[in-house]
């Protein structure tokens, strides 16, 4: 599916994967996240194949499926992920308020708009201590203010020595030092 993909990501770096629809962005992300196996080649984490390293414990993956259960409220959703990630229970209300969801904490997510559901899904980024974020189209359905907010969060994460891999069709509005761009071409 892919040909001559070679990339390296250091701490503090952001990698943006671009390309037309069907170019294989999401498939590449799934391989990088360890959800799919490459036919050839390898994915390394700190010079170790990802299967033999502590890679999964350092990974926060949010795919194009939001992971938000429509019947649960935003707060219940966060509660589950906090416990699942083994984090100290942070103040869910505060995180949701940061994301502009104040007052919507306890209504089922199915009643929220697509953009608000996306915000609930991305709220995990405010709770996780994990180093590598792999995000598939994180800006989908978000409004301008949320996109700015998310990019500020990216900057904060990168400055703490984290790394981010993301796919997006929108150009990033904020400047990230040492950002890399990988453009996938669609070929028959």
């Amino acid at each position: 599916m892919f040909e001559a993909v070679n990339l390296q990501l250091a701490a503090g770096q952001l990698l943006q994967i671009g390309g037309k629809n069907g170019a294989g962005k999401s498939s590449l992300l799934r391989i990088l996240a360890g959800l799919a196996r490459p036919d050839e080649g390898a994915v390394l984490w700190q010079h170790q194949p990802i299967d033999d390293s502590d890679f999964p414990q350092n990974l926060c993956f949010i795919g194009h499926l939001s992971g938000v259960q429509p019947q649960l409220t935003a707060l219940e959703h966060l509660e589950f992920w906090q416990a699942a990630f083994g984090l100290q229970p942070a103040d869910g209300y505060r995180v949701l308020a940061t994301l502009g969801l104040a007052g919507l904490e306890d209504i089922p997510c199915q009643l929220l708009s697509a953009g608000q559901q996306r915000r609930v899904s991305l709220a995990r980024l405010w709770l996780t201590q994990r180093l590598l974020w792999i995000l598939d189209e994180p800006f989908t359905a978000l409004d301008q203010s949320a996109i700015v907010l998310l990019q500020q969060k990216f900057t904060e994460h990168l400055s703490r020595g984290g790394a981010i891999i993301l796919t997006t069709h929108q150009p990033l509005t904020q400047h990230f030092p040492e950002a890399q761009l990988l453009e996938l071409a669609y070929r028959w």
């Binding site: 959800l35 499926l65 939001s66 992971g67 649960l72 699942a84």
Partner: protein, 221 residues
């Protein structure tokens, strides 16, 4: 353990909000059992004779009815994908799912079993045997149903496939459970059958959650 509690609480919240998920199988069970006396007519002896088989077939069909939903939503919404990618302790998630599915689909069957006994003209000894076999057998039903649900997760119309896959595995359970109730209604000892049921349950408890885990990972990958 944290994961177990979180997944368990989450599952109960979902069950509380999607009552159809556990009420429908229960209604199905009751309706099937009501149809038999109506269909067979006023033959109480015949009814009591075939009652063990009827109860068990209705029970395993109703568990099967509730099985498909078990992992489907989490798969569709991407929850499973995120759990697998982050290498969360998924075994606890699987256990929480199976235990809450037993509580929601099988426990109500145990609770209404006295009513069923009355409906089918079973006496107290036979009812006790029905209760005991259901107690030992339904967890096994739920375990195997969870395995089927996990295996058919990414199949589009998984429901029929699930039934075809899992129903044959229920045969030994059906044989021993109805034999136990038969013996009980004849006043014979049925501890042997109960012991076989317990052994099957122990084996499934040890192996099935691991198999479910593997199947989930295969489907996500």
């Amino acid at each position: 353990m944290v994961m177990f509690k979180a997944a368990f609480v989450r599952e109960w919240r979902l069950l509380a909000r999607q009552k159809a998920d556990w009420l429908n199988p229960l209604m199905f069970f009751l309706i099937v059992l009501t149809l038999f006396p109506l269909g067979i007519g006023a033959k109480p002896n015949l009814l009591a004779e075939i009652a063990p088989g009827i109860i068990w077939i209705a029970a395993l069909l109703s568990v099967l009815l509730g099985a498909e939903r078990l992992f489907k939503d989490d798969f569709r919404q991407g929850v499973l994908e995120q759990l697998v990618a982050a290498d969360e302790p998924m075994l606890f998630y699987v256990l929480a799912k199976i235990i809450s599915s037993w509580c929601s689909t099988a426990l109500p069957l145990l609770l209404i079993s006295p009513l069923i006994a009355l409906l089918l003209g079973l006496d107290a000894t036979a009812w006790l045997a029905v209760l005991l076999t259901l107690l030992l057998g339904t967890p096994l039903l739920n375990l195997l149903a969870a395995l089927g649900a996990a295996l058919t997760l990414s199949a589009d119309k998984g429901g029929i496939l699930l039934a075809l896959l899992i129903l044959p595995l229920y045969i030994p359970l059906l044989i021993f459970a109805s034999a136990a109730v038969d013996n009980a209604s004849l006043g014979l000892d049925y501890s042997g059958q109960l012991a076989v049921l317990s052994a099957m349950l122990c084996l499934a408890l040890a192996l099935v959650p691991l198999a479910v885990l593997k199947a989930l990972k295969l489907n996500v990958g």
